[in-house]
């Protein structure tokens, strides 16, 4: 069996449930669509104005002239808003049977049983089910979907919404700001540590449906939170667009870790803008896994604005047949004594293409900056491709910067060593690949580490020459 067959057959989450929805906007983007979205959500005027302004920014902006091939996206052939059920359910039994079935297959109830702190699951555009541990609420932690957040905490959202990623930042940030729906809103008060990860599951279920979540995380001084987002989508015949915006504010001495494993089906364009602003002595960590999608362009960024702030990006990508993973990380040092580390591991096989694209920037007045970038690529066969485009833009005095990149295949010596110890060839290959990504996998929560290792082993199995 070839690798490509395995990729297709092993994609167990790639099923298609009949659509259940209450409202579906007409295809294409217009002022009317935007106003309908805003109206149906009962949003305040300022939000509607931001949406409409962003729509005009979206129209003015050109498609990026760099990166992956996006010519397959037809913006007029996408549903921008689908509302699956009327009200959000707060108990499991209230959720409609089809949606429940979908969740059962992803395993959300199990996750609940494992005593996760809060689960907020997004089915199409609206969050239909959420629960939050009463202990969290007592501590003053807010974990809700973005729409409820806007209703219940409008002042806080107005203060931060679009301040980290401006609606004019790039074409897809404009698009998201214009038609956003769902996503999570997290606020952690001063000094509160959320010990278990907060999880949210995202799914797209309507063909041609764009999913535009908007997530805002605010970690107040000295707090800690780990937010986990897992994505998987059923397979469709027409192309889907996923364009999220994630804004994170890490205040003085706080630490935020944001973990994503995206396993979109192989026809999804995944174009995501993720950025964190880190204040004095704060720490931001992005752990980013890209396994699925047709095209991914995603460069989680840390803007280090306070003294001694630290940013880390750990990124792992697998590109199989027909896939292009254009991923990486950015660290912008705007204050003295800030440090950053970007580690990227990418694997391409079956004719896939992985690209590392990154940026390290040091502002003119930032002294004593330290940064380290490591990007390693593994190419499994002759049809695949790997590129590295790191950029360093250093204006500040005397920074210490290190950068290294390696592109290689599985070494003959490594294979010889393992097979001479009696390990079968395909096990040896899987072992080498798992060892290659190990520095990132060990940072994942256990269930994600298991899932990632299993996914990669499956994709690897057929590739023995």
């Amino acid at each position: 069996m070839k690798t490509t067959d395995l990729i297709n057959t092993s994609y167990t989450l790639g099923f298609h449930k009949p659509e259940v929805y209450q409202y579906k906007s007409p295809k294409g983007l217009s002022e009317k669509t935007v106003e309908t979205i805003s109206g149906m959500k009962g949003e305040p005027d300022w939000m509607r104005e931001i949406r409409l302004k962003s729509l005009s920014y979206f129209r003015d902006k050109k498609m990026p002239s760099w990166g992956a091939d996006l010519s397959g996206i037809n913006f007029d052939d996408i549903y921008y808003y689908i509302r699956p059920v009327k009200d959000r359910a707060s108990r499991w039994s209230e959720i409609p049977e089809e949606i429940k079935d979908t969740y059962d297959r992803i395993g959300i109830p199990e996750a609940e049983k494992k005593f996760l702190m809060g689960v907020s699951a997004q089915y199409e555009s609206e969050v239909v089910y959420k629960s939050i541990n009463s202990m969290l609420t007592k501590k003053g932690v807010i974990f809700s979907d973005m729409d409820s957040g806007l209703r219940e905490y409008p002042d806080m959202i107005r203060q931060y919404f679009g301040h980290i990623i401006s609606p004019t930042d790039n074409k897809f940030a404009s698009l998201n700001t214009s038609v956003w729906s769902g996503g999570s809103f997290v606020y952690v008060p001063k000094g509160v540590r959320v010990e278990l990860p907060l999880q949210a599951y995202f799914r797209i279920n309507a063909a041609n449906m764009g999913q535009f979540e908007r997530t805002l995380i605010i970690a107040d001084e000295g707090s800690f939170v780990h937010y986990v987002e897992g994505c998987s989508a059923p397979v469709y015949s027409t192309d889907s667009l996923h364009s999220a915006v994630v804004e994170i504010i890490v205040k003085k001495g706080a630490r935020v870790r944001y973990t994503t494993i995206q396993n979109w089906s192989k026809n999804v364009y995944n174009l995501v803008t993720k950025r964190a602003r880190v204040e004095e002595e704060g720490i931001m960590e992005w752990v980013d896994g890209n396994i699925g999608s047709k095209v991914t362009m995603k460069y989680p960024s840390v803007y280090l604005v306070g003294r001694k702030a630290r940013g880390e990006v750990l990124s792992v990508a697998y590109a199989g047949a027909g896939q292009h993973q254009d991923a990486g990380g950015k660290a912008v040092h705007l204050a003295s004594e800030t440090s950053s580390q970007i580690i990227s591991k990418s694997i391409s096989g079956g004719g896939g293409r992985t690209s590392y694209r990154g940026l390290v920037e040091v502002a003119q007045h930032a002294r004593g900056v330290k940064s380290r970038v490591v990007c390693d690529a593994l190419i499994l066969d002759g049809d695949s491709r790997s590129d590295t485009y790191p950029t360093m833009n250093i204006k500040g005095p005397s920074p210490t910067l290190e950068h290294e990149a390696t592109v290689s295949k599985i070494g003959d010596e490594q294979m010889f060593y393992l097979t001479s110890r009696g390990i079968a060839e395909h096990d040896a290959r899987a072992m080498i690949v798992n060892g290659f990504i190990e520095p990132i996998v060990k940072e994942l929560p256990l269930e994600y580490a298991v899932e990632l290792n299993r996914l990669l082993s499956l994709e690897m199995e057929g590739s023995v020459g």
């Binding site: 499994l380 049809d383 590129d387 790191p390 360093m392 833009n393 005095p397 910067l401 592109v407 295949k409």
Partner: protein, 197 residues
């Protein structure tokens, strides 16, 4: 095969394309030459090519360096080393491309860029680009940028060396280190030039 040495091949022009079998290209920036574009095309097998570029930036120099390691055929090794010492408010922009074509299997390509900052207003932009279309290869690049190590300064001070001489001494050593594996009388003149830098 005896390696050949091509030393300072530019003269007045600053762009050169080399189609080489085996050998070393050593370029020490001439004063006033602020742009160097050098490309190595490897079309044979079992070639061993290295290129070393040494740069010293002063006053308000704006130096632009591009290198290309283009492996058209397989089974060869290439390495590029760009070392710079940047003083005053000089700027350097280095773009280093490694491109390995589809059938250039068993390629081993290496690229390294080390920059030593002698002044707080010196600036470095280092942009390596790797485009790999083959799968049976090893391709590595590394870049470092940093100020003079304070431990080294302390060591030299403790040996009674005049503070004024120290940064020049470290900077010369930094550049000369790039030539440590070159064993040819032809680079004697290059070494001498660096000594008086």
């Amino acid at each position: 095969m005896n390696p050949e040495y091509i030393i300072n091949p530019f003269g007045k022009s600053s762009t050169r394309e080399f189609t080489v079998s085996s050998g070393s290209v050593i370029i020490v920036q001439e004063p006033g030459v602020n742009r160097i574009d050098a490309a190595i095309h490897i079309t044979g097998t079992n070639c061993d090519v290295q290129m070393i570029i040494l740069i010293a930036g002063h006053s308000s120099d704006n130096i632009i360096i591009t290198t290309q390691q283009h492996h058209v055929s397989g089974g060869s090794r290439s390495s590029v080393l760009v070392k710079s010492i940047m003083d005053d408010s000089s700027h350097i922009t280095y773009t280093g491309m490694i491109r390995v074509e589809k059938n250039a299997n068993r390629t081993d390509a290496y690229q390294r860029n080390d920059n030593l900052l002698l002044s707080e207003s010196a600036r470095v932009v280092s942009e390596p680009v790797l485009e790999i279309l083959s799968n049976d290869l090893r391709c590595t690049h590394g870049a470092t940028t940093g100020p003079i190590n304070t431990d080294q300064v302390w060591y030299l001070l403790s040996r009674g060396i005049d503070k004024k001489e120290i940064s020049g001494m470290i900077a010369r050593g930094f550049l000369l280190d790039g030539l440590k594996n070159i064993d040819s009388p032809a680079i004697h003149a290059v070494r001498q030039r660096l000594e008086i830098l």
